[in-house]
């Protein structure tokens, strides 16, 4: 079992962006079904890319700084979480910018 360096960074991302839901009422967590649907293409493409990159040796993960839990293909559990948490943070950021500026977030806002 390695050090949770990578996991701690992901937890930090969630902690920094979570207040946007409460303070700016961006309603991203509230729309969690839409988020899970929206994240599917990114998750499939980038997990697939990463599996290819690991297989071809484009990059590798330090066993001492990851939990050591690996999915088939050598994919660290942190990397799988990365492809869910970073999109969540990006969506929270987009909605926060839209909320603060009053700009359309990229789709017609219904109420």
């Amino acid at each position: 079992m390695g050090h949770p360096t990578y996991l701690a960074l992901l937890a930090g991302c969630l902690a920094v962006t979570a207040p946007l839901e409460l303070l700016l009422r961006v309603r991203v967590y509230a729309r969690w079904r839409r988020f899970l649907l929206a994240v599917v293409p990114e998750f499939v493409v980038f997990v697939g890319w990463t599996l290819y990159a690991i297989a071809r040796g484009h990059w590798r993960y330090d066993a001492a700084q990851t939990l050591g839990l690996r999915f088939p293909g050598g994919l660290p559990v942190e990397e799988v979480l990365f492809f869910l948490i970073v999109p969540l943070c990006a969506v929270l950021t987009l909605e926060a910018v839209a909320r603060v500026t009053g700009w359309n977030p990229g789709y017609s806002v219904d109420e």
Partner: protein, 115 residues
């Protein structure tokens, strides 16, 4: 394919998806670029820690060589493609859901008006 070639391809494909497939046109919107700039700042920080501390190690043969905040420049293309695909998809899902809910309300209104 090398990481470099894949990273360039990913940006081209994702921008094509945004403009021509989903037609969300995120890359034409100021809201997207402001959000991306904020995400980019955090990416440089997080990615800098991941690569600077050697959590992720790259094969020098698979990348061009230049690095920004310890990470290969290809990571910027990887991150841009990832964020753009996510936000375009998020906009598409919300557009679809909002259109469906509007249609639902219209239907109810029509029904009550014929009563």
């Amino acid at each position: 394919m090398s990481y470099s070639a894949l990273a360039v391809s990913a940006v081209v494909v994702v921008v094509g998806v945004d403009l021509a497939v989903l037609r969300t046109r995120m890359v034409t919107r100021p809201v997207f670029w402001v959000a991306y700039a904020i995400v980019l700042a955090f990416q440089l920080l997080i990615n800098g820690v991941l690569t600077g501390r050697g959590v992720v190690v790259y094969d020098p043969a698979a990348i061009w060589g230049p690095r920004i905040a310890y990470a290969p420049v290809e990571d910027l293309l990887f991150g841009f493609a990832m964020v753009t695909l996510t936000l375009a998809s998020w906009a598409a899902v919300n557009r679809r859901a909002n259109t469906a809910s509007r249609r639902g309300r219209d239907t109810r209104t029509r029904r009550s008006s014929t009563r």
